[in-house]
């Protein structure tokens, strides 16, 4: 039963094309370890160098967002770079790499985050590049730790429009998912 049950679980991940999946507490140490593993895996799959770079850029920005903004952070101190919690999946879908991250966010963060993502979705590649330049020159928005630039970087490296969604969980939090394609 044990093996059967986890085999089914693994099969469902395989169906999604998962190359690497992580769920749970995410620290900066986890980020480095997963990043290195991902690079090795892509080398093994003889992935094109430009694609490797895009996957890696998106992966780093996504995971750093989970560490910094996850609503399940262990460190309550807003300045501390600590431990977040979330779901990270890198996979291949029709020969194209995708990177999905999911984490809980407090309800009050949903609208501002959605507004930023909706705005990004209206921009073409050149506009995204200009927006990145613009944001780089501005002081970070309050309480953002620079998240806007991170999201712009993800959109900039993504070869398709980024996908995102929110699913309410309880009175305080929603599950936020962001998917980008390298």
């Amino acid at each position: 039963m044990l093996a059967r049950s986890y085999l089914d679980f693994k099969a469902r991940l395989d169906e999604q094309g998962a190359v690497l999946t992580y769920c749970g507490s995410v620290s900066e140490t986890v980020l480095v370890a997963l990043g290195e593993t991902l690079k090795q895996k892509m080398a093994e799959l003889e992935t094109d160098a430009a694609v490797v770079k895009r996957v890696f850029s998106i992966f780093i920005e996504q995971v750093q967002n989970v560490i910094r903004y996850s609503g399940e952070r262990v460190a309550a101190d807003a300045d501390a770079v600590g431990l977040g919690a979330g779901l990270i999946m890198v996979g291949v879908e029709d020969t194209r790499y995708f990177i999905v991250c999911g984490n809980f966010v407090r309800h009050e963060r949903v609208e501002p985050l959605k507004a930023r993502l909706d705005h990004l979705a209206t921009l073409d590649k050149e506009a995204i590049r200009q927006f990145y330049r613009e944001k780089l020159r501005e002081p970070p928005e309050e309480g953002s730790l620079g998240a806007t630039i991170g999201l712009i970087e993800i959109a900039r490296r993504s070869s398709r429009p980024i996908e995102y969604d929110f699913a309410p969980r309880d009175a305080e939090t929603s599950f936020f998912c962001l998917k980008a394609y390298a």
Binding site: E28, V32, G35, E36, A49, A50, K53, R54, F56, S57, I60, E61, Q64, V81, R129, Y132, R133, L136, R137, P140, G146, I149, G150, I152, E153, R157
Partner: protein, 133 residues
Amino acid sequence: MSPLTPNVAIPPTQRSPRVDFDFQNGRFLISGESYPEDAARFFGPLLQAVEDHVAGTPDGSLVFDLALAYFNSSTAKALMNLFDLLERAAGRGVPVVVNWHFAPEDDAMREFGEDFSEDIHTCVFNLCADRDG
């Protein structure tokens, strides 16, 4: 001249770049990959050291060689701050040259170089497609 500025030599790690700042000779190198845990903490003291150095109106020119293979968005912010302070120094008459090195096939690093160069008017900014992939 600020003869008291000690040189900086930080070896690279998996996630942070090699940093070699030779204040006496005005040569500054940052190379490798950069996605430190806390970019502000990593780059803050380095930028402060450069700021202090240029405040002493150093003799000769300052040459910055930036040869990064990858950097995250927080590092981009730190680089912007570095260029801002170099622009201010250049505006006060300190000659500054920035060499932005990238691999010829690396479009992302080329674009970053082009984008930074658009905000640099007083320093000399060279795009150098001479880095090994």
